[in-house]
């Protein structure tokens, strides 16, 4: 019994210690963004890897989510004779919640895990130590461009997801199920407000991007220096970032409506 309590205490202390280390690591990334030179080439390469290469996945996911939403919401709204509200329901759910959250989860799986694996592999092959020995800060050279690129691409990808989701629901509701296109678009236009909905969506995805950038780079940077360690770090990035994104989504929604 005592051993279990001791282990629980040690594990809890370990978790608190790690949170402190992550916060310090985040501070170092923040500091690195203020220190010249800004690594534009590395940043653009990371934007390409994390953003451009995720566009196909985001497009495919966005349009299929739109199809499903169109179908499900149409059937539900039809029960109450409120099919004309399809545009409103699709727009609000995609812009406020589904767009940023699903984009965050998809980018976590595609780009976040890749960044963890890349930095972890650099750690085990001593490339990070090699940089340190050349008096080059790996956080400035390797981590900062990747973390900032994730924060930069997330709102853009989320916007693409939302646009395609709305288009997908339009195709199902209007073209397939015969809803009036004008009422779909009019409902969408009247219900969506810039500050309450669009800005909230962009802020959410920016924060998800910052969270993912921090978690993905930290996991790679601090992974155990062997191949199983990289594998564990990659899995941990997906799990931790997904949970953090969902929790942050709840908190932001709650705070925004205050």
């Amino acid at each position: 019994m005592m051993n279990r309590i001791r282990k629980l205490g040690a594990d809890s202390l370990g978790q608190v210690e790690e949170i402190g280390e992550v916060v310090r690591f985040g501070g170092r990334i923040l500091l690195a963004t203020t220190r010249p030179p800004f690594r534009w080439r590395s940043f653009m390469a990371a934007v390409f890897d994390s953003g451009v290469l995720s566009v196909a996945l985001i497009c495919a996911s966005g349009i299929t989510v739109g199809f499903v939403l169109g179908l499900q919401l149409y059937n539900t709204l039809a029960r109450f004779g409120a099919e004309d509200s399809l545009g409103t329901a699709v727009g609000l759910s995609l812009i406020r919640e589904l767009g940023p959250v699903l984009t965050g989860l998809l980018v976590t799986g595609r780009a976040g895990s890749a960044i963890t694996a890349e930095i972890g592999a650099m750690r085990i092959s001593q490339q990070l130590d090699g940089l340190r020995m050349m008096a080059i800060d790996p956080i400035h050279f390797i981590v900062m461009p990747r973390a900032t690129a994730l924060a930069f691409v997330m709102p853009l990808l989320s916007a693409i997801f939302v646009a395609l989701g709305i288009s997908g629901a339009y195709l199902i509701g209007v073209e397939l199920l015969g809803l009036d296109g004008g009422s779909y678009l009019a409902g969408l236009e009247s219900a969506v407000e810039f500050r309450a909905d669009v800005l909230q969506s962009l802020v959410k995805s920016l924060i998800f991007g910052l969270l993912l950038g921090l978690i993905a780079t930290w996991r790679g940077y601090s992974c155990e220096p062997h191949s199983a360690g990289v594998s564990r770090a990659t899995t941990s990035t997906v799990v931790t970032a997904s949970i953090c994104i969902l929790l942050a989504d709840y908190l932001l929604t709650a705070l925004w409506s205050v």
Partner: protein, 299 residues
Amino acid sequence: MLGFANAGRAGVPRAGHPGASIDGMGRFEEVLGHVTEAEAEFGHVEVRGVALAFGQRRVFEGLDCDFARGRISVLMGGSGTGKSTLLRMIGGLQRPDAGSVRVAGDVIETSDEAGLAKVRNRLGMLFQNGALLDSMSVFDNVALPLREHTDQTESEIADRVHDRLAAVGLLDVDDLLPGELSGGMLRRAALARAIVTEPEILLCDEPFSGLDPPNVSRIEALLTHLNRDRGLTLIVTSHHMATSLRMAHRILLLRNGGCVEGSPAELASSRDSAIREFLGKDGAEHLSRCGSEAQGAKG
């Protein structure tokens, strides 16, 4: 061009080197490039009372040793005795549990990253696996420290990079990625990167492993040239017995958490069975040959 590619063969004195005298081992003993005997007396790197353990395994217990300025020191010892760890400690990549490490007077173990970066500007390090950035070409890897820390133009950088690559025997590899090089080429490219900024102190972790005999000679010649003509302090770990003994001014044999140090000649005369056993047949033969040459010279 700095003429690195024309470095003399290791152990062979070059004409026109004033004040040089050669001992029985074919080494310059009294004048080492820019470093006089008096300067060499001072420890360029000082390790005092260092203790380190990884979990239950103690690597160092009160390790004391000095690495003299402008000298070649070779770290030897069996696997797991802490040769690479000691190099990492000197570079500030590993902090000791106790004791102190000073590099050119700067304390390493308590320095923050900014302090370490200043020290590292004076150091070069060749890692066992090269540690080149695998997403960058060989040229960009070697040019990286120059682009980061100097104001040189791209053409000046290109000249310097090609000079260093030629010195390690690599030609036409500019656009290759590290993954496209053989193990020996990778190691030589990493050495070119380590010396491109002309460091004061070069830490080499197994510089000869994986190299064919001509390239062992080439790298030995290059390192000896850097030490002799530029006063570079060289700290090398190596299992390549003959080459190490030929190059070394000082040998440090790590064992039991501490070290035994001496010149190759002192090691040759040691009656310690553990030392003789470690040196093995190759080392003993080399040392006795050196010893008899020295006797002949004296006679």
